[in-house]
Every structure is written in C-alpha cells, then in structure tokens.
C-alpha cells in the first residue's frame, strides 16, 4: 500500500511563519496543536460538531478540525494565543472574565475566536441573533448565558474594531 508523501508547507499563525512537512490528511487543528505547539485551540469532537476548534482565518471563523493544513497556506491564521495584543486583553477576553463566561474553560478558546468572528461579520444585532450565530460553539458547563452577556456587552460598546 502506497503511503502518500509529506508536503512542505508554510503556515502563517499569529503573524509568524512556520515551515512544516505534513502528510495531506493532517488537520489544521492537529498541525496547530501537535506541530506548532499552540495548544490553546482544543479538540472537542474532531468532527465539526462542537466548535471548540474554532480559529480565525483571514478574520473569518472556521473549524480547524475540518480544515487540512495543506490547504491553508497563504492565509492569516489567528488562534486564541494571538488574540491579546502586546499583553493587553482583547475586549472579548475581558468581557468573558467580567461576565462569568467560562467554567472549565475547554470551549473557551473556540468561543472567543467565534465571538470575534461574529463581531467581524457584523450581522448579529439582537440577543436572539447573537445566540443563533454563536450556536456553533457548544458549552457543556452551561456558561452560555455568560458568553452571550459578554458578546452583547462588547457589541453595546460598539463601534467595535
């Protein structure tokens, strides 16, 4: 049985270039966690059903478990490690602290990246719309109310960005 060859790729993550040799079926999630040692992004289900693996690619929120590393060259990938700037928390991160938006913290990196993606999209207006547009991120601890409160708090302080 022929095994595929590794591909030489360059991934730009949080502004830094990483040169990797990866097999084609390595997910972006595994490349981030296992190869680049950015373990902030979590593997919740590995099947695109929980949102814990959410990262931003060119400012858009996507699931890294359903992305192949070899397909993400020439993009700007932002993980939770790249959200704070110069030691200053992003408004969403501060709001998550202020509004009790996490308990175990496992879904939290995905929630934070997803919330920032939501603000970038600028489509959610009411609380009901924010809930619907954050529904791709599951929280088994039930911190959902705090998460939505945090997002609404940052929205209400608009203009964002």
């Amino acid at each position: 049985m022929k095994i595929a060859e590794k591909k030489s790729i360059t991934l730009t993550v949080n502004g830094e270039s990483h040169h990797l040799e990866v097999l084609p079926w390595v997910s972006l999630l595994d490349a981030l966690r296992e190869r680049i040692n950015l373990t902030g992004t979590k593997k919740g289900c590995d099947h695109g059903q929980c949102g814990a693996c959410t990262v931003l690619i060119d400012g858009k929120r996507v699931l890294s478990c359903l992305s192949l590393a070899v397909m993400k060259e020439n993009t700007e990938i932002t993980t939770v490690e790249g959200i704070a700037k110069n030691g200053e928390l992003h408004p969403i991160q501060q709001a998550f602290i202020d509004h009790d938006a996490f308990q175990c913290g496992y879904c939290t990196p995905g929630q934070i990246c997803s919330a920032i993606g939501l603000l970038n999209e600028n489509k959610a207006n009411t609380r009901e719309e924010v809930q619907d547009l954050m529904s791709g991120n599951l929280c088994r601890c039930g911190a959902n109310r705090g998460i939505i409160n945090a997002v609404m708090a940052v929205k209400e302080n608009a203009p964002y960005e």
Partner: protein
Amino acid sequence: MHLMNNFDFTKVTDVESAISSTQKSKGNKIIAGGTNILDLMKYFVTEAETLIDINSIPGIDNITELPDGGIRIGALMTNADTAYHPVVEEKYPLLSKAILAGASAQIRNMATNGGNLLQRTRCYYFYDINTPCNKREPGSGCSAITGYNRIHAILGHNENCIAVFPSDMCVALAALEAVVNVSGPNGERQIEFSDFHRLPGNTPEIDNNLEQGEIITGIELPEKGFSKNYSYLKLRDRASYSFALVSVATGLELENNIIKEARIALGGVAHKPWRVKEAEDFLVDKKANRENFSAAADMILKGAIGFEHNSFKIDLAKRAIIRNCMMALNPESQRPGAKPSL
C-alpha cells in the same frame, strides 16, 4: 485496513483539470470547503486516493447577473457569502434565510454552494460502517427501516433506503426552481433542480444525477424570487445547530389576498427536497388562508408513510406547511434559526 485516510493531495487551477482528474478515477475526489467530505473520511464512510483541491479555480466563486433578470451563483462561493450577498438578500431572501438556518456560522464560512448540493445523508447507519447500509454497500440491507429512524424519510422511500437529504439551501433552491450548471467530459449542461437529486429507487447508492467527471460550476436562479412573500421554517430537536425533522420553504405571489403563484418545498422528509406541483397549482386564484394552505398540505403529504420513530413527521409537516405559508404573508415574522413565528 483504514488510515485516516491514506490520500495524496493536489491542487487544480481550472475546470478542465478537475474534470479530467475525476473522470480518470473514482479515487480522485474533489475537495472544496471540505466540511462534509473530511467528516465522512474521518468516519471511513468515504475514502480517496487523491483529494483534488479546486479552490483556486477562478471565475466560479461570485455572482453574475443574467440577461433574463436572474442570477448565476458560483459553485465555489461560500454558503455565508451567498446568504449575505446584497443581491441574494434583496431578490432571493428565501434562499438567504434557508442557508442561514443550516449548520453553524463556522461551517457556513467554509462550505461551498457546490458542496452543499453534494452533501451526503446524515443517517446514523450510513455513517456507521459496522451496520448494513444499501447506500454505502448496495445489497447489504437498510438498518434504518427497523432501527432508530427519527430523522428519516416519510415520502419517496422504499425498502432499499429511507434516508433523508439534509440540506436547507436545497429546499429553497427547489422552491425557486434553480438550474444547476455542470461541466464535464461531454461539455456543459444544465440540470433542472428537481432532476438533480434522486429518489432511492433501485440505486440508493446514487444520490444525484451527476456523471463521473462532472463538476458543478454554478447555480442559476430565475428572475422570480418571491421576495415580497416568503418564509423558511425549520423544526428540529434543538433551537439551532441541528438538522431538520421537517422544514418548509414557501414563496407566494399575491394580489391583494389572492394567490397568483405558490411554491412549497419540504426538507427533512425525503431523499430530495419534496415539491408537489398539484398542491401549488391548487392554490392559484385561491385566498391565502389557513383552510387553503391546509388543503395544499394534505396534497403535499399524500402517500406519506412513517416508521416506528418518525410517523409524527406526517402531522408535523402538515402543520408546518400551514404555519410557514401564514408566515410568508408577513416575512418580518421570521425569526433567527428559522424558528416558528411568535
């Protein structure tokens, strides 16, 4: 023996190369957004020798306005970009709402229109390679008929397969009478939306009428978008991020309160979006009221047969049709997640 999944990877930059790779071998499979094919591969339901990345093919990721007043939506455009495109929001809001009822924001940012048409059923037994499934392995049997069949079909099924086609976008495309633009080894062709997806028949392993080597390049919508009176309703076990038990797309053209044209398509109930022209024709020149929508609903659900865990869908679908048609009289009443109007 399976690995997750011992495939090679290559990129193509034009339609011809995509066609020739996929025509050459069934082991050469296209990847665009990847949100369905990678999931299927992780479960070993699908495998490939080589994945062909088509995301760099130019010219099929945008919207073109057509001379007849319609539009062509590129196959490589993401579901999110399509749903939020100003022309779609204004002229075909039914399509926008249907897309936004599906999946999650992250998935919609990745998934492409072409891929949405080609997604596979989410039948639990199709996904579990340790169970008999005629769709995965013709002749092995259908585990769902005597199994847990809550999310399965009530229309158009047979003893071979009771799987449901899960796309929301396609229910709207069916109602809008879209046309699929396809390019293949024998050139280009157009497939009427109602002819794109198949019923299981004797070939439950075949979901649609694409030939090997053909790829979807675009989806055309006619000029009529029912933008004044439309609604998409999705009923599911959660308020969001779940597949439909039953969904309804309605488009109405009204003169005062009289229906001049009606389109009603159902999702979550069959192997393809379900439309019954007889019911739509019945509504012409009738008053837009519950009584007439109810009569139409009975026609649409004619012949429905449920199974141990999904017979509730028959009555649910009838009520959903009435509810959604009433919502279409006032599209403002639609709610996020395609929930019922208050």
